[in-house]
């Protein structure tokens, strides 16, 4: 049974392992993408700069600021969903030393 099963099933097992590995990797990449707000914050700073230099007016600033806030909120939601730390919201002094 053993050898025959392996030979018979191997063409199928191979791709399945392969797929699972790829999905794990995709999952990790997607997770990072969803929970990293560095580039969104950079967009906000760039937008600020454009307003200061007069490239855009107040209305345009507010419109794009609204979009960026939406993105920041989405990241915060994903971080909460994955149990990661988030900024903003009520805090208190941590009771144990382990918590930041």
């Amino acid at each position: 049974m053993g050898l025959l099963t392996n030979i018979l099933l191997s063409p199928f097992l191979g791709p399945i392992w392969g797929t699972r590995w790829t999905l794990d990797k995709v999952d990790r990449v997607v997770r990072e993408e969803l929970t990293d707000d560095t580039s969104i914050k950079e967009d906000l700073m760039k937008l600020q700069l454009e307003l200061e230099s007069g490239e855009i007016d107040d209305a345009e600033y507010l419109r794009r600021e609204g979009e960026i806030m939406k993105q920041l909120r989405a990241v915060r939601e994903w971080r909460e969903r994955f149990g990661m730390s988030t900024s903003g919201g009520p805090v208190r002094v941590a009771e144990s030393d382990e918590t930041e």
Partner: protein, 265 residues
């Protein structure tokens, strides 16, 4: 429910029970700073513990988006407080559930706050962002760099026969010269500001025109000298660089206390 909706719902359910904390100062009696707080002019006052005080305003328990309006309100309070006090700024959006939670922060972090307040006594921060005009810098480089000028002349003279390689070579030389110029400007500017500042910190540049994004910690007694020096440097580089000079700020970039805070649910 989206965060905005849940925030609005939370605001309705428990109005103004939280405390928004702007900064920590040294003051042994309570103080009022006027109705200038975040969220349409909330009353700003202090929560005191011994000789320390947290500058706060009442707030619903919400997450504040870092919109320009909110960030400006946060900064305006700190600017107002800064006219009279040395302060430790809190991160934007820091909300505690109750006055007792704020007191717990002052008590548990008393020593660290005291040490940093001593160190920051009479110190203020200035921001300096420097942008360059690529075209002008390239023109200056072509004027001053013999090798680049020669290669460029050659390419223009023999437009038809000049090779792809020669153009690549020119591009590479200009890129390298620009990076060298950028480093030279930044080093020179830091050097010129050294004796009028106590410390400096370079942050990541934003966008492709910025070559410097720095914060300088300045003693109040050197404020005028620092100011004049920045103006002199900006005149010196008038043709090539744009200076964005801001402040005085609280020492946002020079205070680094890791507060042991956790989510209050």
């Amino acid at each position: 429910m989206s965060p905005a909706e849940s925030a609005a719902a939370a605001a309705e359910a428990n109005p103004v029970e939280g405390k928004y904390v702007y900064c920590i100062i040294r003051n042994d009696r309570s103080r009022e700073f006027g109705e200038i707080g975040i969220g349409s002019g909330a009353r700003v006052y202090t929560v005191n513990h011994n000789d320390l005080a947290a500058v706060v305003s009442d707030t619903p328990i919400v997450i504040y988006d870092p919109t320009r309006e909110n960030v400006l309100a946060h900064e305006f309070v700190n600017e107002t407080v800064m006219r009279e006090f040395t302060l430790i700024p809190m991160s934007f959006g820091t909300v505690f559930r109750s006055e007792n939670d704020v007191l717990a922060l002052l008590k548990s972090t008393y020593q660290a706050f005291t040490d940093v307040l001593d160190k920051m006594q009479d110190k203020i921060e200035f921001g300096l962002k420097i942008l360059w005009d690529r075209d002008k810098v390239v023109a200056a480089i072509e004027r001053d760099n013999d090798e680049i000028r020669r290669l460029k002349d050659e390419i223009t003279r023999n437009a038809a026969s000049s090779t792809y390689f020669a153009r690549m070579q020119l591009g590479r030389l200009v890129e390298a010269a620009m990076e060298e110029a950028s480093n030279r400007y930044v080093t020179d500017i830091h050097e010129q500001l050294k004796d009028v500042s106590a410390a400096s910190r370079s942050n990541k540049v934003i966008g492709d025109r910025m070559i410097l994004n720095a914060a300088f910690l300045v003693d109040r007694k050197d404020e005028k000298a620092f100011d004049e020096r920045v103006k002199a440097i900006s005149l010196q580089y008038e043709d090539l660089l744009t200076f964005k000079y801001t402040g005085p700020w609280p020492p946002y970039n020079f205070v680094n206390i890791k507060l042991k805070l956790e989510k209050a649910t």
